[in-house]
């Protein structure tokens, strides 16, 4: 494995007409990680994923996959990248056997044994027409085709959004097995946070066409705290830039803050933050009104 991050973007942007769908996106995704790309609809998740796999041309900045540009050197990049699109589109009139044969002919690094053993374990008959499979089975077949390429990077756009809870669990089981077995790097987009906490180790929050937060989930959770205390002046709190979310009642103020150092002020009760709460706070912040003015929070007393 090279020293390059598997995915690297610098100032990446995409404009449709006069509107920027994604702007100034700089990311590094390390080898072997499972990264969740989270954001509301319209945040630029699909736009970003399509630029990673060379489907869409950047309007600004650059993408490097395994150290190379997917649009300038597609023959070197694309065989090493697997993609599972939203709603798992497949050739519905093909039988499963025909679909796997197409996979073999289209992909130079095709692993027929891996693909066949996966569908056998899933218990899907090879003679079955793909269009007649359940949603969960179609998702598994789409994953099998992507894994059959033996990719170094697997990109999945909302892979579990359309699946029922059981199919979702089975899909993620298969995906995690592949990560454990093949040393695969995975980037997946989603707006379901709860499952991601178990599956992902890195997080990128996209909102309003830009990156709000990115990094290892452990570090991100470690760098945020929930503070509860007696009511403080909301005007003063709103000027502090390390406050991600503030809520006030008549008596109480609750703050979700980014705190690089331990908080020593005894007038706050300090609690850890869960991933879902943290993600929601960042998304709310973006959906909210004025950008916070830059200020400083005196937390250490």
């Amino acid at each position: 494995m090279s020293a390059h991050p598997v995915v690297e973007t610098r100032g990446l942007g995409k404009r449709y007409g006069s509107r920027w769908a994604l702007r100034d996106c700089s990311l590094e995704i390390p080898a072997g990680s499972v990264t969740a790309l989270i954001g509301p609809n319209g945040a630029g998740k699909t736009t970003l994923l399509h630029m990673l796999i060379g489907l869409s041309r950047p309007s600004a900045g650059e993408v490097r996959i395994l150290g190379r540009s997917p649009r300038e050197q597609p023959a070197l990049v694309l065989p090493r990248v697997g993609f599972v699109a939203q709603e798992h589109p497949l050739y519905r009139s093909f039988t499963l056997a025909e679909l796997l044969e197409a996979g073999r002919r289209l992909n130079p690094r095709w692993d027929a044994e891996l693909a066949t053993s996966r569908v056998t374990r899933l218990g899907i008959p090879l003679s079955q027409k793909v269009g007649r499979l359940s949603g969960g089975q179609q998702a598994q077949v789409a994953l099998t085709l992507a894994l059959g390429k033996r990719p170094d990077l697997l990109v999945l756009d909302e892979p579990v959004a359309s699946l029922d809870p059981l199919a979702r669990r089975e899909f993620l089981q298969g995906l995690m097995e592949a990560v454990a077995g093949e040393g695969l790097t995975v980037v997946l987009s989603s707006h379901i946070v709860a499952e991601l906490e178990r599956v992902c180790d890195h997080l990128v929050i996209l909102a309003s066409g830009g990156v709000q937060l990115a990094g290892p989930i452990d570090e991100i959770l470690g760098a945020h705290r929930l503070l509860t205390g007696t009511r403080r002046d909301p005007g003063a709190v709103a000027r502090i830039d390390s406050v991600i979310r503030a809520s006030h009642t008549e008596r109480q103020t609750m703050l979700l803050v980014r705190a690089e150092r331990p908080i020593a002020d005894p007038s706050w009760q300090v609690d850890e933050v869960g991933l879902e709460e943290l993600v929601l706070a960042y998304l709310e912040q973006q959906a909210g009104h004025a950008a916070p003015e830059v200020g400083r929070l005196e937390l250490a007393s």
Binding site: G32, G174, E177, V179, E195
Partner: protein, 134 residues
């Protein structure tokens, strides 16, 4: 049928980090004799295939157990239990239970109902786990 000696389970509501739940379950299985020195822990692939969790979480748990000296990783083979843990003697169980009974009575007298007690126990366990993890 899951191969290997034990099967992990996860509780999303316990508030205990996933890797720590795995660590605790191995310790418990060793303490109860379900796992004995020389036994192999489930492979990372088996665990992630059944729990749908990130492989690094399993690796982190196994590293922690290795650090404690309870298991050892043999390159290319897997992770094996390297020593036994003394089981909690039955006398301790009885003593602990009677102390707990006293405590629950005091909590009732103080006006705590069942939910209050459960919440307090959960919060305390969580605080302990957080301290251990730190």
């Amino acid at each position: 049928m899951v191969s290997g000696m034990i099967e992990f389970r996860l509780s999303a509501r316990s508030g205990v980090p996933t890797y720590l739940q795995l660590v605790q379950q191995v310790r418990q299985a060793v303490r109860l004799g379900m796992l004995q020195p020389g036994d192999q822990l489930p492979t990372v692939k088996t665990v992630v295939g059944s729990l749908a969790i990130n492989p690094n979480t399993v690796l982190k748990a196994y590293r922690e157990l290795d650090r404690e000296g309870l298991v050892e990783a043999r390159p290319g083979q897997g992770t094996f239990v390297s020593r036994a843990l003394p089981p909690t003697p039955p006398g301790d169980y009885a003593r602990l239970q009677s102390a707990l009974l006293d405590w629950i009575r005091r909590a009732r007298d103080a006006g705590l109902d069942e939910d209050d007690v459960a919440a307090l126990v959960a919060a305390t366990l969580q605080a302990v786990a957080a301290r251990e993890a730190a």
